[in-house]
């Protein structure tokens, strides 16, 4: 066993932390006020190589799952909104690298990995997102194209994306009835609907994608027709849930550091209740961090890690809320004042619970996997 990061990973961690401190932290008040990140931030992150994904089993360059976790953790230390925006970007890029054909890869991957273009994942529908197999959005074959009709909701990056990966039904087959399409958001028949006003995560947009006879070339189909459910579950599990946990880690680290600084500033670090509370926040953060790093490490070895990934996701989300609550008890009213980082962390921790699958769904996934292994 070895619990240290490699020198290269440590250097990467320092580089991202420095970027986040200098480029993201100063922009947080503006993001809170406008709901948008600075115009050049996405491209700058692309220029830093933050959107280069490395698939398991392939060689550098690019970020493997553990690198992506380190990246999202360091970005989210200062803004969970930027972290979640990047989760969708990495999820889409990784999925395209694995399943897209040459046309889509050549046309879109360079623009996505450079940060010139953002990407959205169109999975959740008004009926819910926990059961992707129930998707009602239709895709009908029309010559060399498909015509997509339906509505996707609660989609991260919805209004800013140049490309959307949309899950749609191509047949009634319960197992192989879904397919995934790379939809250029400039396509006729594609538009965005409402943008949501969320509790937190102000700085990344969440909204609707509306497809009305949206024409998509057949070459934009990912994998084979009918592969949609498998592709979706893999993307959500290995990128969405893992990324979400990485964001939660950054948020918890922020809670820890901000609470520690606040207690030190008012001379309370010696108080037993403060010490106990900070130790508990530290413990929860470390526990979530080790679970997440282990799950990322497992994925990077090419192993299946359904139970580990699902557990990581719900544990990190729940631990975030426990940490914030502990921090509030230490900070008192100061932590409730708008503009204080703890107040923002509290609001940011809540929407992370439902993003990429609620904690209840993760518990079911984890338990089914455990029972399967045990049996």
């Amino acid at each position: 066993m070895n619990f240290t990061l490699t020198p290269a990973q440590q250097e990467f961690q320092r580089r991202v932390a420095s970027f986040a401190r200098h480029r993201i932290e100063p922009a947080v008040p503006e993001m809170e006020a406008t709901g948008r990140p600075p115009a050049e931030l996405i491209a700058d992150m692309g220029a830093q190589g933050f959107m280069q994904v490395r698939l398991p089993g392939s060689n550098p360059p690019g970020l493997n799952h553990l690198d992506q976790t380190l990246l999202l953790e360091a970005l989210s230390r200062h803004s969970a909104a930027v972290g979640l925006l990047m989760v969708s970007q990495l999820m889409g890029i990784g999925t395209l690298m694995e399943f897209a054909g040459p046309v889509v890869r050549e046309q879109y991957l360079p623009r996505l990995t450079s940060g010139e273009m953002l990407l959205a994942l169109g999975i959740t529908e008004p009926s819910g997102g926990s059961d992707p197999g129930a998707a009602a959005t239709r895709a009908e074959r029309d010559g060399d194209s498909f015509l997509l009709t339906g509505r996707k909701v609660f989609i991260t990056n919805s209004h800013w994306a140049g490309l959307a990966l949309v899950v749609a039904r191509t047949s009634s087959d319960p197992r192989r009835g879904l397919s995934v399409f790379a939809v250029d958001t400039a396509s006729p028949g594609f538009r965005t609907g409402r943008a949501e006003h969320k509790t937190g995560l102000k700085g990344c947009v969440t909204g609707e994608l509306v497809l009305d006879q949206c024409r998509v070339p057949a070459s934009h189909l990912l994998g084979e027709e009918g592969d949609g459910l498998a592709i979706t579950i893999k993307a959500i599990s290995e990128y969405g849930r893992m990324g979400n946990a990485g964001v939660a880690l950054g948020l918890m680290q922020a809670v820890f550091e901000e609470t520690q600084a606040l207690a030190a500033a008012v001379g309370q670090l010696h108080q037993p209740l403060v010490r106990e509370g900070l130790a508990a926040i530290y413990g929860e953060t470390q526990a979530a961090r080790l679970l997440t790093y282990q799950a990322a490490w497992l994925l990077d070895t090419g192993a299946r890690a359904d139970a580990e990934v699902a557990t990581t996701k719900f544990f990190a989300n729940d631990a975030s809320l426990r940490c914030v609550r502990r921090a509030m008890a230490i900070a008192g009213s100061r932590g409730l004042v708008a503009g204080h980082p703890l107040e923002r962390c509290f609001r940011d921790a809540i929407p992370l619970i439902s993003a990429d699958g609620t904690g209840d769904i993760q518990r079911i996934v984890a338990a089914r996997s455990l029972v399967g292994r045990f049996s």
Binding site: H270, R275, A279, Q286, L290, Y293, A367, F374
Partner: protein, 367 residues
């Protein structure tokens, strides 16, 4: 990072698991019934080198790492937390003697403890607010000491030959003394029946005008440093035992949930059961990683007091949560002694009844 255990650690785990199944499991019921360890049992444990696992070779031990000790205790506790608790007390006593003992203790006492031929009990200063007078010492006759007071719940006391006694004195640091059972003024009471950890007897140690020679006082290092060593050994042992109990509870819960049929299907298909299984697993894995990392840091002499506190606190909460969920999965059966989960819950309750021994006087500025 590499989360895969080395081959040596895997071999250690599988060999202890096999030993625990063969030698420990058949003795659990008698330990539960009598509250004592069967006489021949310690010889079996000693034969595996389990008492001296963290004692250097030249003192008669097997000189394993903290991580190996943690895994060993985990595997023993998976079958019997009481047995693991007994071993852990001896490990802590050995750590204290290694830290503070002179040549006599290291040549004469430590090898006996490492070989499991003799046992030690710890009578340490209790946390503030504990009922009863603490043990005090004062210098008499120039260089000897007089000890008075009582420690009320000392694991191993009814069977110990040696007593590591921590005393306090006005205006002085706490001091550690090594007394033999024959020391004048030292009296042990009968084993106190407890909720859990039955088989690892605990009882009171009373000192009434116990006069001890100067050589009974161990070491002259700052009391805080000695206390830290004892606390770290104790806390890591606690983590290993709790992990074993939680692992056993997890396995029992999974086993029962896949076999017990309700509404025409195994209850493992019910969401209320799935939630409990997933949460038990999350606590177990998170606690295991916290404890393993801390042991790994200890093996590299890295500062890890905060990590030890975090692991201890997390596992203390998880132990009760996890074993209670196992009882709930069993339903009414969970309260019957025919099934092991009620023992796991009692053991968890007993294990977690004490405060974390690590003291963080001031929270580190750097986190």
């Amino acid at each position: 990072m590499d989360f895969a255990p080395e081959d040596e650690l895997k071999i250690l785990r599988s060999s202890i698991r096999a030993f625990a199944a063969d030698a420990v499991a058949p003795r659990v019921r008698i330990m539960e019934e009598t509250g004592e360890m069967p006489p021949e049992f310690c010889g079996l444990l000693a034969g595996q080198g389990l008492f001296g696992i963290s004692v250097p070779f030249d003192c008669g031990g097997t000189q394993m790492t903290s991580l190996e000790r943690l895994v060993m205790l985990e595997e023993v506790a998976r079958v019997s937390a009481a047995t693991a608790a007994w071993l852990a007390v001896q490990h802590t006593a050995a750590a204290a003697l290694l830290e503070t003992g002179g040549p006599r203790e290291k040549k004469e006492v430590l090898p006996e403890l490492a070989a499991g031929r003799q046992f030690a009990a710890l009578a340490l200063v209790p946390p503030p607010g504990t009922p009863g007078p603490p043990i005090t010492f004062r210098t008499v006759l120039g260089d000897s000491y007089r000890l008075d007071g009582q420690a009320s719940w000392c694991y191993g006391a009814p069977a110990a030959e040696w007593f590591l006694v921590e005393g306090i004195a006005p205006g002085q640091d706490a001091a550690l003394f090594l007394l033999s059972r024959s020391a004048e003024g030292l009296v042990t009471g009968p084993a106190t029946p407890a909720t859990g950890l039955r088989g690892c007897p605990a009882g009171p140690v009373q000192l009434a005008a116990a006069y001890v020679p100067p050589e009974a006082r161990l070491g002259r290092r700052p009391a805080r440093a000695v206390g830290d060593v004892i606390a770290a050994a104790h806390a890591l042992g606690f983590c290993g035992i709790v992990l074993g109990v939680m692992q056993a509870a997890m396995e029992a819960g999974l086993d029962f949930a896949t076999k017990r049929v309700l509404y025409g299907k195994p209850i493992a298909g019910l969401q209320s059961v799935q939630f409990r299984l997933a949460e038990m697993y999350a606590d177990l894995e998170a606690g295991r990683l916290l404890a393993y990392r801390t042991a790994w840091l200890m093996d590299r002499d890295a500062a890890c007091a905060l990590d030890m506190v975090a692991a201890y606190q997390f596992l203390a909460g998880s132990a009760l949560r996890g074993t209670r969920k196992a009882v709930e999965i069993f339903g009414g059966y969970g309260c019957l002694q025919d099934f092991p989960v009620e023992r796991f819950y009692r053991d968890a309750l007993t294990l977690t009844s004490r405060e974390c021994p690590i003291r963080l006087d001031a929270f580190p500025d750097g986190g």
